[in-house]
């Protein structure tokens, strides 16, 4: 498996930028930068203002459109990616959030509910990787 070594400062600064974006949306708009919720609201045309959600997604995509994505090492075959996508889409809506909504915003809001969700999805994901590794005989 190809793994980049990312300096700690780079992860921390990247994280701080993510946190600044989440803080700005909360401070000025009172909204949560939860990406699964934003995508779901756009898909379901939830009542209320959709323009900010579309603007957020546009902002999210602009840096990669200008700078490029850097290396991308896919970890699963297309069939597994399709199944994983369905689980991520269904699971994040059933659980009311993903890495951004629960993991960043919820924990920053000192939410026990979000902390529980985050511990659950990180734990289950780690078990999933371990099981895949074991099944793959690596």
């Amino acid at each position: 498996m190809t793994v980049e070594t990312i300096p700690a400062w780079q992860s921390l600064v990247g994280g701080a930028l993510i946190g600044t974006g989440a803080a700005a949306l909360r401070l000025f708009n009172g909204e949560i930068a939860g990406i699964s919720g934003i995508v779901d609201s756009i898909l379901h045309r939830t009542a209320g203002d959709q323009a900010w959600r579309v603007a957020f997604v546009a902002g999210l995509l602009l840096p990669v459109a200008v700078l490029g994505s850097g290396p991308v090492n896919w970890q699963a075959r297309p069939a597994a990616l399709a199944v994983a996508g369905i689980l991520v889409g269904y699971g994040t809506r059933l659980g009311s959030g993903c890495t951004s909504g629960h993991g960043v915003c919820g924990i920053a809001n000192l939410s026990l509910r979000s902390l529980t969700a985050t511990v659950t999805f990180v734990g289950v994901a780690a078990i999933t990787v371990a099981v895949c590794r074991w099944l793959g005989g690596q």
Partner: protein, 137 residues
């Protein structure tokens, strides 16, 4: 104005995800791979984000409205229920299999790689499936 704030917030979020390397599924799986060559990058990224966001979230929670006076929707911070746990567990399986969560899923679409569209199509389908267990929203 609301859309301008959201655009800037999205920009910061997108730059942060790229800089932290969390748009590469291998870097995410390297964090989750506790029985292999474990890498802490995702933990540093999340810690950096939470530390910066914490004061802003605390301030708004106490004010009850945004700095521009917009009311905030109430958020339940304590309720534990089966949809929360079951949904988070399902998300965990999908995240572990792929190394991709919703933000990177959007960003990876720009690579034009068909695998990004396969994952995203699954994600959209998963979101559009009827939710018997989910709270109505």
């Amino acid at each position: 104005m609301t859309a301008v704030v959201a655009l800037i917030a999205g920009l910061l979020f997108g730059i942060g995800l790229l800089l932290s390397g969390m748009t590469n599924p291998a870097n995410v799986v390297a964090f989750l791979d506790v029985t292999g060559v474990w890498r802490p990058s995702l933990a540093y990224t999340m810690a950096g984000a939470v530390v910066v966001a914490l004061p802003a979230f605390t301030l708004i929670r106490r004010r009850g409205r945004s700095l521009r006076g917009r009311p905030i929707r109430p958020i339940d911070r304590t309720r534990m229920d089966s949809p929360l746990l079951l949904g988070s567990a399902m998300f965990g399986i999908g995240w572990g299999l792929s190394g991709i969560c919703p933000g990177p899923a959007l960003i990876l679409l720009t690579t034009g790689d068909p695998r990004a569209w396969v994952f995203f199509a699954g994600l959209v389908l998963g979101m559009l499936l009827p939710r018997r267990l989910a709270p109505t929203r």
